[in-house]
Every structure is written in C-alpha cells, then in structure tokens.
C-alpha cells in the first residue's frame, strides 16, 4: 500500500520520517557489521534488493479487477531479518517512487514505516514463532507473509486516519471512525492480495527447497533436517 506523493499534510510526513530514520540507521549499522564479518554478503544483499524490486513490479493475477503487486518484503524479512529488510525496503521504495511513481518522496517516511519496518517485523516474528512451534514450513511462510501484508495495510490506514481524522480535529473517536472507513475500503483489495502473496511466497520457498535448498540452509532460514523432511528423503 503506497501512500501517494503529497497525500500526507505537514506535521505527519515529517513525523513518519522521524520515526523511520532511526530504524533505517540501525539497519545500516547491522548491515555494516554483517558485511565486515562476511564480505560476500554485500553482493547477495544487492541482488536480493533487485529481486524485491522486480517482484514488486510483477502484477499478481487479480481477483477484484484492480491491479495489485506483491510487496516482497516478507520474503526478505524471512531470509535476512527485519533490520536489513528495512534498509533494502527503503532503497526499493525510493526506486519505486523514481521509476514507477509508486509512492513519493515526502511520503517516503510513512511508506518505509509501513512496508519496510512494520510489515517485515510482523512477518519475522510470526515466522520465528511458527518455526519454534514446529509447524509446517510452507504454512509458516504463508502465514508470515500474509500477516506481514495485513500489518502493512493496517498501518497505512492508521497513517491516513491520523492525518485525516473525522471531524477535522484529532480526537480518539474521530480517529477510530476515520480508521474504520479507510480500513474497510482498502480491505477490498488488500485482504485477497495478502492471501495471494502468502501463497506465492510459500510456492517460491517450495521450489527453492526442491531445487537448491543449500541456499536456505546456509542463510540459517531453515535447518538441514527440516529440508530433508520436506523433500521426503530420509536422513
């Protein structure tokens, strides 16, 4: 859910930048540490960023007739963790604003917060919890990505409702009423979209596990024993 350029009025777009920038800086710090330990990770991060961009520019087969794109950050969060996903998400969002006019420069802070920070964190937490509970790997990926998308969409509705509360003055009741409206209208596209993206991510991991599972084992996304179980080969 990209918020368009110029959509957020004065105090809000600055506020969302103020919230997002420390997280991005923390992400850069984490990334620098990782790169200094393992130098071969930087090119991998670069291709992962390009992968997210290309993924987000693919059209999903749509259910309701609106054109919809996957966000791709859920997959990044599962592989690299939320801190680095925030950095990758920021760069991808910047390119989307400049190449495709999705989102904008003044709304970049708000968009980074919803798509680059909250979405990946939710996806990552669900992924970790699910793996700990020893659920099926693909089901966990599906849930993590879908809920990550939904979190993004709820945050976007919150951002819009804070900027445009019902009754013009920001009160709790006005915020809630406006939030309800934005959330209901966007739900039409976002609820099926998140399910689609969850299914797509699960399929992605299924093919990767079948063809080249050593990538995932190497990145500590999944353990070797779990891969063998998924592929149906005994240890």
């Amino acid at each position: 859910m990209h918020i368009m350029e110029g959509f957020l009025p004065a105090p809000w777009w600055q506020a969302w930048f103020a919230v997002s920038i420390p997280v991005i800086l923390y992400g850069i710090y984490k990334m620098n540490k990782l790169v200094s330990e393992k130098r071969e990770i930087l090119p991998l991060l670069a291709v992962a960023g390009a992968f997210i961009f290309v993924l987000s520019s693919l059209k999903l087969p749509s259910v309701v007739g609106s054109c919809s794109h996957p966000t791709g950050t859920g997959v990044a969060a599962i592989i690299f963790g939320p801190a680095i996903s925030a950095v990758l998400g920021t760069i991808v969002l910047l390119y989307q604003a400049l190449f495709l006019a999705h989102g904008g420069i003044t709304t970049l802070g708000a968009n980074v917060f919803s798509m680059g920070i909250v979405g990946p964190i939710v996806a990552y937490l669900i992924y970790k919890a699910g793996m700990k509970a020893k659920l099926n790997f693909y089901a966990v990926v599906f849930l993590a990505t879908a809920f990550g998308d939904w979190a993004t969409y709820v945050v976007t509705s919150v951002q819009l409702a804070l900027a445009f509360p019902a009754g013009d003055v920001l009160t709790f009741a006005g915020f809630m009423s406006s939030f309800g409206k934005f959330a209901t209208v966007f739900a039409v596209t976002q609820v099926p979209l998140a399910i689609m993206e969850g299914a797509l991510s699960a399929l992605l991991f299924k093919y990767v596990v079948n063809v080249k599972s050593d990538i995932l084992v190497e990145m500590k996304v999944i353990e070797d024993a779990a891969v063998k179980k998924l592929r149906g080969t005994s240890v």
Binding site: G6, L8, V54, L98, A101, S178, L204, Y207, V208
Partner: protein, 260 residues
C-alpha cells in the same frame, strides 16, 4: 509489464542540465505543494512541471498523460473517503446508500480537493525528475550528500541488477505465457510461483558470481564515480527564479482562498 521511466530519462534533452538545479526545482515544488493551503498553488506547480517535462523534455504528450493518470486509483479512493467522511460544515449533497446516510460537506470537499491537487503537484514534480534525470546522474549527488557509504554502494548495485532481473523475469514470463501458463487463475499462481523461485535462485547465483568478479578486480567496498561538472546557464537560472517567484507569490496570495 512496467515502463521504466529511466529509459526516457537517458534520452531526454534535459539530461545534461546541472543535477543540483533540477533537484532544487523538484524539492522546491514538493515542499511548496505539500505545505500550501489552497489547491491553486499545487495546480500551478503541476502545470509548470508538466509543461517543462513535455515542452523542454520532449516527452510525448499522450504518454505523459497516461503516466499521470496511472496512479489515479489510490488517489481517488482516498479522496472520496475524505470528501464523504470529514468536515462538519454545511451539507452540499446527501443521499442514502443501503441504509447509510452519506453526505459531502463543504469543508470535506475542500480538503479532498486540496489533497488531490497536492498529490497531482507532487506527482508532476516526481515525473519531471524521473523523466529527465537518469539514476546514474543522481548517484553523484547521493555521494555528495554524505549518506552512509554502504547504503550508496548497495543502491548502486541494486540499480545495476534491477535491469538484469527485469529482463530475466520478462523472458520467463513470455515463455510461460506462450505455453498457456496464465490461462486460468490456478495456473497463473503456479506459474508466478515458478517464475519468482527461478528468479530467486538465479539472482542468488548471480550474487556469488558478482562477488567473485568484483573481488578479483580489487573491490574494497567503494566504487569510484566520475561527476561531470555542468555549469548552470543564465537562461536556466532565469527561468527557475521566475518559476520560484511566481509560485511563492501565488502561495502567499491564495493562502486564505477557499474554492467551494
């Protein structure tokens, strides 16, 4: 699939104008648009930027209009919600939809128009930048802006690989389409899953190769960039100042005007 605006930027006659001047124009437009309190200033900015893109940048008018209308979906949904549900003044139109009373109020409509015009102004500024300034020109600006080194390196590498993977994704998609991979919903999902996973594995292998090739060329975490020095011409300076002045004057005189 998608129009990468960068292709147009590379051919643009405005490409060789000083990057800082173009950025100043764009950021001025964005900030003036977003902080204006009447729809007139953003509309004026939208008009000026569109004129500059189409007349000076020689972008085909039809293509440009298509681009501006493309993100209209999000804008319209948002604006309609604002028009219907905010404001407390006098009602302009009211009707009932499935038992719910709906009304557009004067100040709600005013706010909706303001937001719509701000979006339009901001988008025209972004399109001006996207259609006249290729990303490679902006890297020099990024370097000078003292952002963290690794962030810029990552941006440059990502930029390079977007095109490689976009090509790859397109050719896989064509191959799948001619084999009826997108003929119904279930197949589409399956095909898209195969496409993304292949893309993922190939990009991973590409990453390994990239590391090897860059290491063997003594990569130490910094790529050197050559920034071309481009002096600002008097005409450009003059036009920019006229534009800035007109916008500021308009901004000042229309700050209390209401349209509805």
């Amino acid at each position: 699939m998608t129009n990468i605006l960068d292709d147009y930027a590379l051919m643009s006659p405005l490409r060789h104008i000083n990057n800082w001047l173009k950025l100043a124009i764009v950021f001025f437009g964005l900030l003036a648009g977003v902080s204006s309190t009447s729809p007139i200033t953003p509309l004026f900015i939208a008009f000026c930027m569109s004129f500059a893109t189409v007349a000076f940048g020689r972008v085909p008018l039809k293509f440009y209009l298509k681009l501006v209308l493309a993100p209209a979906g999000f804008a319209l949904t948002g604006v309609i919600i604002i028009a219907f549900f905010s404001g407390s003044g006098q009602e302009l139109i009211s009707f009932e939809l499935a038992g719910y009373p709906l009304a557009i109020r004067a100040d709600g409509l005013e706010l909706a128009l303001l937001v719509l015009s701000r979006s339009l102004g901001g988008m025209c500024c972004l399109y001006f930048l996207a259609l006249t300034t290729p990303m490679i020109e902006l890297f020099a600006v990024l370097k000078a802006s003292r952002l963290p080194e690794s962030f810029i390196e990552l941006s440059m590498l990502i930029y390079r690989y977007i095109f490689v993977f976009l090509d790859m994704a397109l050719s896989i998609k064509y191959a799948q389409t001619v084999r009826l991979g997108y003929s119904n919903f279930k197949r589409s999902i399956n095909s898209l899953g195969m496409l993304t996973s292949t893309l993922f594995i190939r990009s991973w292998e590409q990453g390994d190769k990239l590391f090897l090739s860059m290491n063997s060329r003594c990569y130490d975490g910094k790529m050197a960039l050559f920034e071309v020095h481009r002096p600002v011409k008097v005409v450009e300076m003059f036009l920019t100042s006229v534009y800035f002045l007109l916008t500021l004057v308009l901004f000042y005189f229309t700050k209390n005007i209401s349209i509805v």
